[in-house]
Symmetry: C2
Subunit: 310 residues, 2 copies
């Protein structure tokens, strides 16, 4: 099959693809964890044109803790820390994919990792209320560092920051050209670096964009065929974590919106994933699947995960 005829697959990797729950996140752990999702993506790259996006929650949280511990150098705003994690994780994913492609003996493809920034609106009400969890997970609110907003998430207590909605991906034209030219692209790390447009210039803002919502926006803007959100659970479940937990193999947009409205999915966790998948399918995307990191290949084949359908 000619490369141009292959469907475009976007895989959004959660931060837990690098740092799993309970891990401190040494560089050795992060590289080791990446092999599981990246080997599957290397296999898939034979049949699909590939875009990889990724989260950065644990990494950006670590950078924030580090810069707050050090009075010797000027502190940088959140968007610069997001940019730093794009460098770090982009490199880790790219070099792991490079190695896996060599190991599989797959024909060498052009492969690049791109800095990506994303326009948000100054009028976004999110600027009034921090909701996006970043950094380490704490068992109790007391253990979390004081002086910052902290919220209870599905995984435990975490610091939260402002998280506006993505309006448009600045590099969408470039990414489209690159996909057409046969490149495998790693981009939109950590949801992208948030900027507002001020006249004829861009201005960074002290915030973090949800990576699933940014990935959905990118998927729509560049015309992705299959959008896979890979996380640490098998897919979408009702009554998650209780004895009444009910895994859903398929979920239509109407039901999904109702479940979101009824508060079934945790903020900053499953909720933005379902919203992102719904948004993609609603705007004309062919397939969106929420699945676990170990089942990316199966999910693409329609054998795992929760399929969001019209």
């Amino acid at each position: 099959m000619n490369n141009r005829d292959k469907p475009i697959l976007l895989v959004a990797l959660g931060g837990n693809a690098l740092i799993r729950k309970g891990e401190r996140g040494t560089v050795t752990q992060q590289f080791k964890n990446l092999v599981l999702p990246i080997r599957q993506i290397a296999q898939l790259s034979q049949d699909y044109r590939i875009i990889i996006t990724h989260g950065n929650g644990p990494q950006v949280g670590n950078l924030l803790l580090q810069q707050e511990s050090c009075s010797d150098v000027p502190k940088l705003p959140l968007e610069i820390l997001v940019a730093q994690t794009q460098g770090q994780i982009g490199y880790m994913i790219e070099s792991t994919l490079d190695s896996q492609l060599m190991d599989l003996g797959v024909h060498v493809k052009p492969l690049i990792s791109l800095i990506t920034y994303v326009v948000v609106s100054e009028q976004d009400p999110a600027f009034l209320n921090p909701t996006k969890p970043i950094g380490p997970i704490y068992a109790s609110k007391k253990q979390a560092p004081s002086g910052y907003p902290v919220a209870k998430t599905a995984k435990g207590f975490r610091r939260v920051v402002v998280s506006p909605k993505p309006v448009t991906i600045i590099e969408k034209r470039e990414i489209k050209k690159l996909i057409t030219a046969g490149f495998i692209i790693i981009c939109c790390g950590g949801g992208g670096i948030p900027v507002v447009r001020e006249g004829r210039a861009f201005q960074g803002v002290d915030a973090v964009i949800d990576k699933d919502l940014a990935s959905a926006k990118l998927a729509q803007e560049v015309g992705v065929d299959i959008f896979v959100i890979a996380t640490d659970v098998n897919g979408v479940a009702l009554n998650y974590g209780t004895k009444d937990e009910k895994f859903m193999r398929r979920l239509n947009i109407g039901s999904a919106n109702q479940l979101i409205a009824d508060g079934h999915f945790a903020d900053g966790s499953m909720r933005p994933k379902v919203e992102a998948a719904v948004q993609f399918v609603r705007d004309g995307g062919k397939r969106a699947v929420i699945t676990s990191i170990k089942a990316i290949e199966s999910a693409v084949k329609g054998q795992a995960g929760t399929e969001i359908i019209v």
Copy 2:
């Protein structure tokens, strides 16, 4: 002129393009300083195909200080910090260039900032001896943090790290394709992320590559026409900083090598710049110029800087 017929210009920006001597390096200072070189590059992009590389000395040093001040999160090796600075500085340069192109009303070009890693040799003798200055500049050895190798540089005392020679740029094929496709490319930040090839995999190494030498290697591997090294002095001078200082408008390879051998140029400062320019011209490059950040356009026109000639 058709884009494919335009000469390829590579501009290597020193870390001082973002943080000037005596500055602490706030994000506001860094963005402000970038306007001077980037506006010139925006102008030049009308007549040249452009690659921008950049240093990261102050930024990677700051990250090192920050992570050493914080016991709560795992420390990362130097190559990961280099990757982080590629994200940070790549974003700052790209968004500044984006804004300057908009401001000049120049036709929008595809513009991307790439993560770049660079192969070094495990046998490089540099691994035995740290020489590359990073981080803040101190007036005396006493003021520098203890417990690390510190060396006297042209600018003052600085911490030094291992700095192997670049062997090949991993993304050279990708960069060549992108230049041909009309992209303006920001890459090879901080000299690239150093890796060694181990069988069918890449392995990062705890080191920093000199950005001028990495830029010269990239320039040769992708077929750059003009290689400009932009720094904080007007060009190459004999007896720099003394009353006998003598600026050189032109310097041939033979004389340059002799002056290097005689110890005329400071390690980790002017010396690698002259070596990089010599290497580029020796390997068949058309023009190499060492100039100041404010004179990039003049240097390209042949009206400023030190031209390294065969």
